[in-house]
Amino acid sequence: MATHEQTSPLDVAVLREEFPVLGRHVGGDVTAPGEGADDDQPLVYLDNAATSQTPRAVVEAMTDYYYSYNANVHRGIHHLSQEASVAYEEAHDRVAEFIGADGREEIVFTKNTTEAENLIAYAWGLEELGPGDKVVMTQMEHHASLVTWQQIAKRTGADVEYIRVTEDGHLDMDHAREAIDENTQMVSFVHISNALGTVNPVEELVDQAHEVGAYAFVDGAQSVPNRSVDVGAMDADFFSFSGHKLCGPTGIGVLYGKAEILEEIQPYLYGGDMIRSVTYEDSTWEELPWKFEAGTPPIAEAVGLTAALDFLDDVGMERIQAHEEALTAYAYDRLTEFDDVTVYGPPGDNRGGLVGFNLEGVHAHDLSSICNDHAVAIRAGDHCTQPLHDTLGAAASARASFYLYNTRDEVDALVEAVDNARQLFA
């Protein structure tokens, strides 16, 4: 940890204390959750792009909600319901502040990023798209948007086109300029690729979308956790991310939409809490954002999400980004020292906090299993980017992804496990 402290702007040792799970040992029986007697290796958790760990403050905020003001929101006028309603509604304000939105009317809580994509695809896409229209995505899209827009396009007769990825893992911006044409109604793209780590030129793509009168939907699942994001400055029309990737709970995600656009879109889910007035014949809708939040929402999760954003702001997003960039650059350098390791995505340090890679002659699942034998948790598979993996010529890849609590020692543990796999399979 000594070397680490020289380079990190964060006091990682202190931060780690806030995450009880990081003190866990693993390696024994997996059929009974939690640490057992046969779990004897200290956990090295490098699967943060899939889901991050949860600090005490978040769990405690949710526990406090359940222990002291658990009630349904909006419709109650009793004391607990009012407390819960205020907390739930203010969670929208907190998210708006965190990502630079104008206010709560632009923040819709969903289950996750995937549902945020689907919400707009169904509520806007299914209504507005038709033959001759086009949705432009990128070859590095996550299935969350790729499959969603692909299927909505099929149902509406619209076309889809994917902006190509260059050899070094960037978007081919010449191709972007060609692909985004007058027929384009929606440009939907990842801010940071969860497979390549590429940071895409958001402003440029948003501008291109707007030049042809299209909307821009930015998938921020991998960017909001590790950098300061300002949806207003990027001028995105829609933006999405998930609570569970930024120290928050599962079960809550965010759809940001410009208020004037959300006003025009019909609801996606119907039911209670989203209506203003109902007769047997017809109904009218609540104001934004409630018209998109039918039924009892994720109240405890909204409380947890607020605590997660407070936690991140206390640590400081700039410092989190600097810490992750340093760790990622270190992992990139160490892994590329092996001749038989291919690291995907752009070189250099302008990357999200992850490295995707393959070891020649060893399937990514075997590599991940061997890492697991060393208690190093990484992911293997196509990372919900199967078409991208087809273009990479790899059925699967291994991915290590970092967060504010990871250390250089943990990167060393990864490298040692990879080296062990090399020797086993040599």
Binding site: T31, D373, G381, A396, F425
Partner: protein, 133 residues
């Protein structure tokens, strides 16, 4: 999981290849890993497996299991094949396979069994064998 025997079968798979005179042939995949295996079988007049080969690629567990299983299947009747279950494959492998990797281990067995079922008309020919995670 990565004992010497497994790595040996992975590096030098037994019965690897194709049989041009196959009585039946079937392919299956494990989409979450990208493992893919084709099994070719030549039967004798008693519906016993005279020769068997597999091809495809994937992780060490799926390939080693295919190599070991095909060695075991030679001489077996199709009825005996259908009676095998996943524990038989796990016993053959002789190592503890973690829960998330069991689908890799049983792919070849499932492909052989589905291939035999299709041959007997018990399964639709278009049926793809997939093992989901």
């Amino acid at each position: 999981m990565y004992r010497q025997q497994i790595l040996d079968h992975y590096r030098n798979p037994r019965n690897y290849g194709e049989l041009s005179d196959a009585t039946f042939s079937h392919t299956g995949e494990n989409p979450s890993c990208g493992d893919e295996i084709t099994v070719d079988v030549v039967l004798n007049e008693n519906e016993a497996i005279e020769r068997i080969a597999f091809s495809g690629d994937g992780c060490a567990i799926s390939q080693a299991a295919a190599s070991m299983l095909t060695s075991e299947l030679t001489g077996m009747t199709l009825n005996e094949l259908q009676e095998l279950d996943r524990d038989d494959v796990l016993d053959l492998l002789g190592v503890e396979v973690t829960p998330m990797r069991i689908k890799c281990a049983v792919l070849a067995e499932k492909v052989a069994q589905d291939g035999a079922k299709i041959y007997h008309g018990e399964l639709d020919e278009l049926e793809q064998t997939t093992i989901e995670g």
